[in-house]
Symmetry: C2
Subunit: 619 residues, 2 copies
């Protein structure tokens, strides 16, 4: 492809102009949006979409298409305009931007088949690009990943997590472009047009960095060409641009971020200016090059394996997870694991040992770990990012965007609750259930033993959409056998009699406290129902309602989690129409260091507290 | 202070050795902890605490003390050992490490008066150090801020957010040290001992960076001296160290992270080796230099001002917040505001205009915004970090640690819920209430109009501990007058009669939907109670229980938030013992772009849905 051929430049220039025109029209029609942000990127977009990328406009699902991520998601209108130019969407639809009946949303989401990940929270697209590029390696494709960032966006620390991982992984299939228009939302960026300062950062993080005039099409094409030829390192093109380029009265002006041109004289003047920039074309632009088509066998879900545990054996669920995911990885090449330097605590090192090519180390950088998982999931992998549950909170904005994107990421959080013991509160996940449950489409599972861990892991792997598995640090006895059945949205009643005075709902380590309370209460002639609520979202409403009705409307929940947003709230919501009472045992203060059993007792979630609660509500 | 005087070196060397000995003893006694991580930092700690920092060991509250932040919080034992050496704590107490009855926790927390912020989630301490250094400027103190990082920790993106802000703010009072021991938790760090690569990064981010042998005390002292003389730029000392230094059989070995020396032969051998490293001292070490004492007037809470709004006026709560915080800032110099380049959306630009010296711009970097607020709060400021509520999720791990630290940070999230409209789900906070409520000590307030915003802002400013104010984008009518009373943990019943068939609980924009539903139902002769639940945590349990009892045990909640963890769950928890039913109207799917009123209706939280719910439960 003779990308430097000058004959195509006028046609590309006209595309850039048309992208500006469509962006201005659409945002004015919508009454909101970011036309100035689109205008600075017009030549970059024209070059990438019509002279650089290889893709089949009719087949977004083609796995070898080059990928494009709009990390500066607020420039969505120019992305949509590029698709219209490529014939992917109808040009007339561009004027439906931001309407409730249109999929052309204010920021791109995967409702649109060409969008891999929702963007609009800055600094995330480049993390997803890392995962998309890793996926190319996983499926042995030569597709390249392009990602367009804003310059203000590079203040986000997540960008530098992505920079590091892309460099360590030698992802030379990534070509990132920063649209350096020197203006943020509310003020100039700190570096304005000091592109050398920006280039020094990327180089210090191991990237090939090149400065380019972002409105000079031959220069952009040459830079893209150079990026394509750069091996062992990702490339960052730092494009010097002017915000609002092409519209004289907003060019480079602060105060035009997220502001549309008013209908009437203002927009008419802008469109006249832009239209006057159309030039005669020397030659028609060749069609977009198609990717190589590589035949691949269809993916098949692995059949469930029998968990190799005997009842009464003591195994931590975190370790059972490590074994289970390694086993699943042997049966299904889509399974991938991502770590943030805790693989010897989460036991993902077992996966690494068996499947090093699908194990991605991010070092201590949780945002890019989740972001890369988002990218992998978007391209067909089934990624399991795993760290301490507490540190998933570091990536909550990414989890939020993964949920918005309905991505198939399978998060695993270990070391949850006060039961981790001596390391203290900074290492204890006590809000992870709340955080995950708040996202309406995240499946939340919480096994108590090795068998349920193995079963739930297999279920979550093949359940579409984001999911979270909560594992624990202490060893717990295996209580389930190979024939016990689990389902997403299910629960197990472990103790039941017609004389039950109340239902106690536990999960994970508290289930064993509940079973111990059952034994103690039996000695006093008191029967309780005990439920293992291994699926926190969706929750087994039918069973819980049934238990409530059969145990005098008395429910007691007990969780190694803070009181708000966890099991107590999930159970209360499930029985909200019943008029039942829900007594919640949970961690109600910031905990501290101590032995696990001391902490369970000190913070009110041990067997003794369950016994007291039963006697209080039911006797 | 002649820091290069060689006569003090043997005494400092012995301190380093004793710090190692105490760290080994304490962790072995505790049975868990990170002795190897302590050993690499021993000379650095000895130099900082006994030859560099100015502080009064008897007076942690002295505002001009130099500050030290242990960003690598897992090295807590050596921090405690340094305090014992300084006479701050009793040496014998070191052996209580990690016990439930000891405040010497596994990772440092502000239970200890010398700890400003809890650490243990990596990459946060340096963000707090930025705020601590900004505070020195605020109170015109010359105190310096020292912060010790691990090398693995610098993979965290938040470190680079701090790097950028410290550089932009020219915080030359910060001296950071990275303990480059080349080993992470589960493997060598990516750069091992390539200190030039690390130095290039810090220089590219505008810091003075210097490489130093981290076990060479004269070299460390000289580097600290140079840092103290470096103006307009923060300094990063990159200290080449050996993990486990001083204990021959663990030195530089992978697999010794977070592993203690076993009682018996193993620890005895280590202690013998360390003790053999004690040397004769040439001269006694001079006492730690004391800081300059600067008299300062005591802080006084500002009296509440009358909100300047008339009933029926239309004002967005986000704008009312901007005005209120600017007014409060005029009355109290402790009030500070932090932004992440959205000041023209959150309206903190009003504060910037009036109090530019207490307005801290972080550009698009929410983690350091919250982290710096933590540091400011730790040193007596009352900081208001404000951004879109959605983007506070970016800093959730910081919020978690701020809660563990019980810090006085006052977070403000704007643009919440589907009522922001066209920008789409990436910009909508729909999990912020869940996220904040999950932390047991975060106060959560949600005003519906300008008057309640002003009142709640003043209340939160002077309520100790972390707090969150949720503001909205749309303009809403002022419904409160200057005499209406608000309190943390309160609520207002706006419509009430003896004939009420149900209670509808709203807050923010949904309150107006509830009031509209009230009017509609009245036309059908149906009375409902309407509650403004402006305090979400703590919640007004007494009033809610009273309403439940007086309205047939029927509660309906309506919130511009996802269903889990928000107002519905808060209300259900408050009435959990009542046997009431709680019908929850909330956003149950990932929303999309559209007009605010269209989205309120599409996602089930408009007046029409409230009317339907009332008829369903009560008619």
């Amino acid at each position: 492809m003779p990308v430097t051929a000058s004959s195509r430049i006028p046609a590309l220039k006209n595309i850039a102009t048309r992208l500006r025109i469509e962006s201005v029209r659409a945002t004015t029609e919508a009454g909101s949006g970011h036309p100035s942000t689109c205008c600075s990127a017009a030549e970059i977009m024209a070059a990438i979409f019509f002279a650089e990328m290889r893709y089949d406009p009719a087949h977004p699902e083609q796995p070898d298409n080059d990928r494009f991520v709009l990390s500066k998601g607020h420039a969505a209108p120019i992305l949509y305009a590029a698709w219209a130019e490529a014939g992917i969407i109808d040009r007339a639809s561009l004027l439906t931007l931001r309407r409730i009946d249109s999929d052309l949303e204010g920021h791109p989401t995967p409702r649109l088949p060409w969008v891999d990940v929702a963007t609009g929270s800055l600094g995330q697209g480049i993390c997803a690009a890392v995962g998309i590029a890793l996926n190319a390696r996983r499926i042995s494709s030569d597709y390249r990943t392009y990602v367009l960032l804003g310059d203000g966006e590079t203040s986000e620390g997540s960008v530098w997590e992505a920079a590091e991982v892309a460099s360590l992984q030698r992802l030379d299939s990534i070509c990132a472009i920063t649209d350096v228009n020197a203006l943020g939302q509310s003020q100039p960026t700190p570096w304005r047009h000091d592109l050398d300062a920006l280039a020094a950062r990327w180089r210090a993080f191991g990237w090939h960095a090149r400065i380019v005039d972002g409105h000079d099409l031959p220069a952009i094409l040459e830079a893209l060409d150079e990026a394509r030829g750069t091996k062992s390192r990702p490339t960052m093109l730092l494009a010097r641009t002017v915000k609002g380029k092409g519209i004289s009265f907003i060019e480079g002006k602060n105060g035009w971020h997220g502001k549309v041109l008013k209908k009437g004289d203002e927009v008419d003047k802008a469109l006249r200016e832009l239209e006057s920039q159309l030039v005669p074309e020397e030659a028609p632009l060749p069609a977009v090059p198609r990717p190589k088509q590589v035949p691949r066998p269809p993916a098949v879900d692995a059949p469930p394996a029998a968990p190799p545990y005997g009842r009464g054996e003591h195994v931590a669920t975190r370790e059972a997870f490590g074994d289970a995911v390694a086993r699943l990885g042997a049966a299904d090449i889509r399974i991938a694991v991502l770590d943030a330097d805790v693989k010897n605590s989460t036991f993902t090192e077992k996966f690494e040992q068996q499947h090093p090519d699908r194990f991605y180390e991010n070092f201590i950088a949780e945002q890019v770990m989740i972001g890369a998982a988002m990218g992998l999931a978007a391209r067909g992998a089934i990624p399991f990012p795993a760290t301490f549950g507490a540190f998933l909170s570091r990536a909550y904005d990414f989890i939020r965007m993964a949920a918005i994107s309905h991505l198939n990421i399978k998060m695993v959080g270990s070391h949850v609750g006060v039961s981790i013991g001596e390391d203290g509160p900074s290492q204890m996940a006590l809000e992870d259930l709340a955080m995950m449950r708040a996202q309406p489409n995240v499946t939340v599972l919480y096994p108590c033993d090795a068998v349920s861990t193995e079963r739930l892991l297999a279920l979550m792997a093949y359940h579409p959409g984001p999911a979270y598995l909560r594992t624990s640090r202490p060893k717990t006895p295996v209580i389930y056998g190979p024939d016990d059945v689990f389902r997403i949205g299910g629960s197990n009643v472990l103790r039941r009699s017609a004389a039950d005075v109340a239902t106690v709902v536990g999960a994970g380590v508290t289930l064993f406290e509940a079973l111990q309370a059952y034994d103690t209460l039996r000695q006093d002639g008191i029967s309780i129902r005990v439920v293992d609520l291994y699926s926190i979202q969706p929750v087994d409403g039918d069973s819980l309602v049934g238990c409530a009705r059969e145990t005098h409307g008395r429910l007691i929940t007990v969780e190694d989690h803070y009181a708000a947003g966890g099991i107590g709230d999930a159970v209360a919501a499930a029985v909200a129409d019943e008029g039942a009472t829900v007594h919640r045992l949970a961690v109600r203060d910031v905990p501290r260091s101590g032995k696990p059993e001391e902490l369970l007792d000190r913070f009110g979630i041990s067997a003794r507290h369950i016994v007291d609660a039963v006697k209080q509500v039911a006797v």
